[in-house]
């Protein structure tokens, strides 16, 4: 390839590429921009908006969001959401990694059965089981407890072990064999060898396990009766129709952590996702 000579076709190709890229970005960005813009709407309602954008801007909705907490205690909801998401993510990640590692590394009798069962189980329309989940929580006195959510998210996490398993499949068995010859137990192998190797995967897992409780709606709605205990999603959904810009402000605010996490961890993410999908 010679740098000097750039053919017409290549230029055309680049132009077309960029045109498509810009179009795609506009498509993705516009609705987001619209939500952001309406969160700054001065009147607080969506209907002074002509077309896409508010006629006048102010920070009022954000101030209200954090100051006016008598009806809608957003700061509290945010803390609840954070609590649930962090602990679900911690526990869930441990469980998923452990499950994936075990299923990938060990050959045992019921292994294939487990794998197939997990696939089949994940196909059940989940909200049909909600009545049962509710009753289980009633039975164990876990209604109105943030821990009940953490329990459910963490317990459900291992069902999505496939991506992580794919990653562990790529770690060669010879390392393990060598360690075993040196007398390492399986527990030690997992701690000393697998975990350090799986760092990108762990980050990826933790992020996905975090994102789900962070934005989930149905479960907290079902299990948290007390408004003080609500998570942000449930709270936002309860906002009155006239409070659109507060709704938008709340939405923008809970999206920020995900975006930040994504960018600070994006290297791991791509590595994680790719490894999980490829089975070689």
């Amino acid at each position: 390839m010679k740098k000097k000579h750039v053919s017409k076709a290549a230029i055309l190709d680049a132009v077309i590429t960029y045109v498509i890229l810009i179009a795609v970005c506009v498509i993705f960005f516009f609705p987001v921009l619209w939500i952001i813009a309406s969160s700054f709407s001065r009147s607080g309602s969506i209907y002074d908006i002509k077309g896409f954008f508010p006629s006048s801007f102010s920070m009022a909705s954000y101030v209200k969001l954090f100051r006016d907490t008598a009806m809608y205690n957003y700061p509290n909801w945010l803390l609840n959401t954070l609590f649930v998401a962090v602990f679900s993510s911690l526990i869930g990640t441990v469980l998923v990694i452990l499950t994936a590692f075990t299923i990938s590394t060990f050959q045992f009798k019921s292994r294939r059965l487990l794998m197939k069962s997990a696939l089949v189980l994940s196909m059940f329309p989940s909200f049909m089981g909600m009545t049962a989940v509710y009753l289980i929580m009633v039975n164990f006195n876990l209604i109105n407890q943030l821990w009940s959510l953490i329990l459910i998210y963490a317990a459900g996490a291992p069902m999505g072990y496939l991506v992580q398993k794919g990653y562990f499949d790529t770690i060669s068995n010879t390392i393990y064999e060598a360690a075993r010859i040196d007398g390492a137990t399986n527990g030690m192998i997992f701690r000393k060898i697998t975990l350090p190797l799986a760092k990108p995967m762990i980050v990826y897992t933790a992020l996905t396990q975090f994102a789900w409780p962070w934005s989930d709606f149905i479960l907290p709605k079902l299990l948290l009766k007390n408004k003080e205990l609500w998570t942000v999603s449930v709270g936002l959904a309860s906002l009155d129709e006239t409070q659109f810009s507060r709704f938008a402000a709340g939405s923008v605010f809970i999206s920020v952590p995900i975006v930040i996490l994504y960018f600070s961890l994006s290297k791991f993410l791509v590595a994680g996702v790719s490894a999980g999908a490829v089975k070689e």
Binding site: Y47, M71, Y134, K225, K227, E241, T242
Partner: protein, 492 residues
């Protein structure tokens, strides 16, 4: 040793689960200490909470009952949280404020306790029709399951300062001091049409007359009920017959032709919820001359109007005072044309050419959960909350139309009296107080939205679906059948 010891794990598992279960097996009932402070959990609606009325009520109650060890607190739950789901397991409120259809749906599964009206000081001031909304027939016996607080019907909201300046000369033909367009639908149509025709903006979108989201049965029921349609028929003994669904009965189809015609003077926002969500804003800024809503939303209109005045340079207090003065709430026009043609000049119509409008209404009230541990304290609380003073405060703070006749008589605000007069003259069709009513909303609203859309179909080149009364009749009968199917197909 070839085989390995195993199953420590399984051991632990069984221990753990057995422990958990044994533990929860007898966790059902812990006996209560008799000297304990009684805490009542009250579930009010969001408006009462956001306007500060709930705090007022709770403080007043707690102050008055300090000695008895009764404390009322905000249940702090979603206002529509399901009592049937929460109550039996002890997560529900003790006292609940709701509309009669919701409250009575709970009551029919016995989640709400029957009460005796004579326990309540307010009882004698509350008209019989309001009590009727909370009556339930079980095995031939009649029970009362709620205490009426306020009555709701769709009302017309408008800005007094946006009345046409010449209304007394131009829009009050009968000279009775009430504008004709608040008295009959033909004139409301005519005035809306006048506003539309004279809209100065290029896009013809700055000036509307009557505006409403037509996909809402509760707010627009007059187009069906005024013409002989009904939700459920009645048995000989006066109880509801939920097998007889009558949306297509009488001349309801004619009524819907009027609705279709009215929609033509609005914009497409009447097909979905757009107008319902914009109405506060747009009445305040004068885009809509008037709209339809329930009395409990009065404060929301005032709030938006006050903001509007503030923007024009008034102080907060001034703006609030002016908004309260100018935001008017009146009953919907009481006359609809019998032939369903709103475009005819009202002066051409003789008395016999009109039908009296029958709107849909509801009564909101308190119910006591069957799962409360302190029934007497609940009665005490409801008694307090329905006392003269509290209802008066509620009316002042929330703009509701109280069922207590002494409060409404004193306040000088005639809304309640008007509504009760309408109720006694059978001009309000109360939401049926049965569980089955849950299943009427979606099918009926689907149809209403579609009929509203029909007036825009020709414009966008689609074929109109409801050109004739016959088409409308078929559609209404279809809705009745769909509702019947929804209720009975799967029930044995």
């Amino acid at each position: 040793m070839r085989r390995i010891r195993r199953d420590f794990a399984v051991t632990a598992c069984v221990c753990m689960i057995a422990g958990m279960l044994a533990g929860c097996g007898n966790s059902d009932s812990t006996p209560k200490d008799p000297d304990e402070i009684i805490t009542l959990r009250i579930l009010e609606n969001d408006t009462a909470k956001s306007k500060g009325y709930l705090d007022e009520l709770l403080n007043a109650f707690n102050e008055a009952h300090k000695e008895e060890g009764i404390v009322a607190v905000d249940a702090n739950m979603d206002e529509y949280s399901n009592l049937a789901e929460n109550g039996p397991y002890g997560y529900g409120p003790d006292v609940i404020y709701q509309a009669n259809d919701k409250l009575m749906a709970y009551a029919s599964d016995k989640h709400i306790l029957p009460i005796s009206p004579e326990d309540y000081e307010c009882a004698e001031y509350i008209p019989e029709q309001a009590w009727d909304a909370f009556r339930l027939q079980v095995d031939g016996e009649s029970y009362t399951c709620g205490i009426p607080v306020n009555i709701q019907e769709p009302m017309l909201f408008y800005r007094a300062d946006k009345m046409p300046e010449n209304w007394e000369t131009e829009w009050d033909d009968d000279g009775n001091g009430v504008a004709d367009f608040f008295e009959n639908w033909n004139d409301l149509y005519a005035y809306s049409k006048y506003l539309r025709d004279t809209d100065p903006s290029a896009n013809k979108d700055s000036q509307y007359g009557f505006m409403a989201s037509f996909n809402n049965l509760y707010l627009n029921g007059e187009f069906i009920f005024s013409y002989g349609g009904y939700v459920f028929g009645k048995n000989a003994d006066g109880t509801l017959n939920t097998e007889d669904i009558g949306f297509g009965k009488g001349n309801a189809a004619t009524g819907l032709m009027a609705l279709r015609q009215m929609a033509g003077l609005m914009n497409e926002g009447c097909i979905d919820d757009t107008i319902t969500s914009t109405r506060y804003e747009k009445v305040a800024d004068g885009t809509y001359f008037c709209t339809v809503s329930t009395p409990d939303t009065y404060t929301l209109f005032v709030e938006k109007l006050a903001l509007q005045y503030e923007d024009s340079g008034m102080s907060k207090e001034e703006a609030q005072a002016k908004a309260e003065e100018n935001l008017k709430m009146v009953e919907l026009p009481v006359r609809l044309p019998a032939d369903g043609d709103l475009s005819r000049d009202s002066s051409e119509l003789a008395d016999g050419d009109w039908v009296e409008s029958v709107v849909m209404g509801g009564v909101n009230g308190y119910g006591i959960s069957s799962y409360t541990k302190y029934k007497d304290a609940c009665v005490e609380f409801v008694n307090f909350a329905t006392s003269y003073d509290m209802i008066k405060t509620r009316q002042e703070m929330l703009g509701i139309a109280p069922t207590r006749s002494d409060v409404s008589a004193e306040s000088g605000d005639q809304t309640s009296e008007l509504i009760f007069q309408s109720l006694s003259e059978n001009r309000i069709y109360l939401m049926p107080s049965v569980k089955e009513v849950d299943q009427i909303w979606t099918p009926s609203q689907t149809l209403l939205g579609d009929v509203a859309k029909d007036s825009f179909r020709a414009n966008s080149g689609e074929t109109e679906k409801y050109k004739t009364v016959e088409d409308m009749q078929t559609a209404l009968d279809g809705v009745s059948k769909n509702i019947y199917d929804a209720i009975y197909t799967l029930a044995d």
